[in-house]
Symmetry: C2
Subunit: 425 residues, 2 copies
Amino acid sequence: MASSVNPPRGMRDFLPQEKARRERVLSVIRSVYRAHGFDEIETPVMEDSSRLHAGLGGDNEKLAFGVLKRGLTAEELHAASDPLELADLGLRFDLTVPLTRFYASHRAELPTVFRAIQIAPVWRAERPQKGRYRQFMQCDIDIIGDAGPLAELELLSATAAVMRSLGIDGWSFRINDRRILHSLLRYWKVPLDASERVLIALDKEDKIGVEGVVAELHALGLGDPDLVSSVLLGKQLTSLADDGWSLLDGEPPAWLDAEGQDVYRELSAIRAAIPDARVVFSPVLVRGMGYYTGTIFEISHPSSTSSLGGGGRYDGMIGRFLGTDVPATGFSIGFERILDLVSLPDDEAADAVALLHDAAVAESTLVALKASLIAMGGRVRLERTPKNLKPLLEQLAASGFRRVATVTATTESIDDLEFRVLETP
Amino acid sequence: MASSVNPPRGMRDFLPQEKARRERVLSVIRSVYRAHGFDEIETPVMEDSSRLHAGLGGDNEKLAFGVLKRGLTAEELHAASDPLELADLGLRFDLTVPLTRFYASHRAELPTVFRAIQIAPVWRAERPQKGRYRQFMQCDIDIIGDAGPLAELELLSATAAVMRSLGIDGWSFRINDRRILHSLLRYWKVPLDASERVLIALDKEDKIGVEGVVAELHALGLGDPDLVSSVLLGKQLTSLADDGWSLLDGEPPAWLDAEGQDVYRELSAIRAAIPDARVVFSPVLVRGMGYYTGTIFEISHPSSTSSLGGGGRYDGMIGRFLGTDVPATGFSIGFERILDLVSLPDDEAADAVALLHDAAVAESTLVALKASLIAMGGRVRLERTPKNLKPLLEQLAASGFRRVATVTATTESIDDLEFRVLETP
């Protein structure tokens, strides 16, 4: 069989060092979220096709991997006019669609205000490119059953605590509210039926810049050109303005109408309640998903023009499954994007030891020595002494083993071992 | 949309308490295996269909979920004569097939003796029944590049350490070797071309009992009936025999030929080197997979007739991908089967506290109090004081929250809080 030994296109194998690093980071995220009172849940990786394609996933629905029905006959294949007819299940493309299904199924067993953690992979059949994978981890927290703003505060402070615990510096929250966007559209005199196109243009700001957005809106003839420019270019919305409104500690900007100004004051209160984090008002922040209804947020970082994570309030969505409205808000950390920024000590390496041995040593001796060292709290690896020792020692050091000892036929207990320290690579 | 809110057939949602328990158990397994010098790796959940259906997965291959090719046209659907032609990928049904692919891909970057941990879900489209799921966790360790018996010892002692760390009592290792089986077949005068049918009959012992196996072999006319009975019934192989051979501390039984007796002595040496674990020689243990070549083992427990885990040596398998033979052996813990036997303390509950509050308390106060308590090492949940307090307190206690305090409009710091202890449920 000549088939490739590579993982499927756009998917990755993780070797020991990378996997250990990923698990350490996930473990920090999990424990910080748990400390903040969130509860982890898990759903299967597959959902019914009908649910994945119910219109809640936006463009991601098209990227869902379909799972073939079992036991299909040739006749059924030939009767199908659309591949989706052959797939009763699909792999989830996000963790929000499964969460709403989970909540609808288990509501009676959950707290009135349910704080959920989901740390799990999702799959999207995207064209693979640098930094985009077809299987990747998401770390979501959601609060269901609280109309805010306490829920938003808990999401943001838990997320800020995760970023601090991972040793990531220099990041900010960008915050906005769907109602601010609607206030802006009114100020710009955008016709109601053009709102969606304007939001799509604004959503591209991280790719085409503020000037690009202004140009696009002018070209489309959407909104009053002078008013659009006065807000978008006059204020340089994504940088710090001197009058303080972009840091939410000034008066609301004049181009917001009364409703927009009320929402601005809500955002200011959120900012004031999490003094440890830098919170920047980003009135052109849209976030793609159509289901957002209130506050929306992202983590921005100078290392990247795209966000490190984000989320928002989606009050209408769960009602679509339950028949009764339930408020909800969530935040998702882009695990694959933060990974390179994490700075965690390798706290395990200090205790990792390797025991070198040759064929003269009884296996039972090796197993007993290993057990004794593990019982003392160490991590232990047995290695047959090779002809050329140097590459092995280098590899052990690179794998986090800091000490090495040689076992001989006369070694009886760990007291007989002489450890030497390996040079760190 | 009237679609069900249940997870797909045969798959499960995990609610907070169950998920927390699963993660605690997985974390113990992971850390014990790491202490024993194993390295965790990860592969994508999907593999190429051609690899999943290459004949290494035995009956499990038929149970693989197929993943539909992307962008199929109606013409391609109609041209297909077999559903598998439409699936270029599939979900893995075990962790061994992906491991061999991983090793073939990354061998140059791995240690000469590679000790792998895989803790991950697998999928099988089985008919759902009690205790059988279509998505379930496997916890595998494998040692690639060591011809044994040290590798077997490391697998067994690491597995025994996991069982101890999880507080599971009363289990034993059942151990055998494919070469013992062949020695038995020779003793029974089974024609070579009937070996496979005899092994299949023996493999059913946990379901049909020793008598059932004897009856089946007699009915099939395979082997000399008197010899078969003398070993299978005369010795009651799965119970303790007085002459010590079933505990591997006696002389080899006389019905083994010279080769079988040599292998028996190897097994005796393995048993002697792990004195902490109970090791029972089970000469009719087959384990289904055709790829096993040497020592095979299972964990048995009085709670179940099926094993809690198992594995064995599969020296030929990796060579099929590499073109060069590489010895390998592995052990898989049946995570879903051990879960009910685990006895771990809930070490987190002691520090979990709930803060009750009403609308008069500023959100910023709540967030600050929560942060202070978390900084002291606690797990904290905010709860709006309900009209009827009792159900909430019961739910908090059931979720592991042990202390509760009420925040009022005059609360300024955690020094103002009075904690009361919740009764454990």
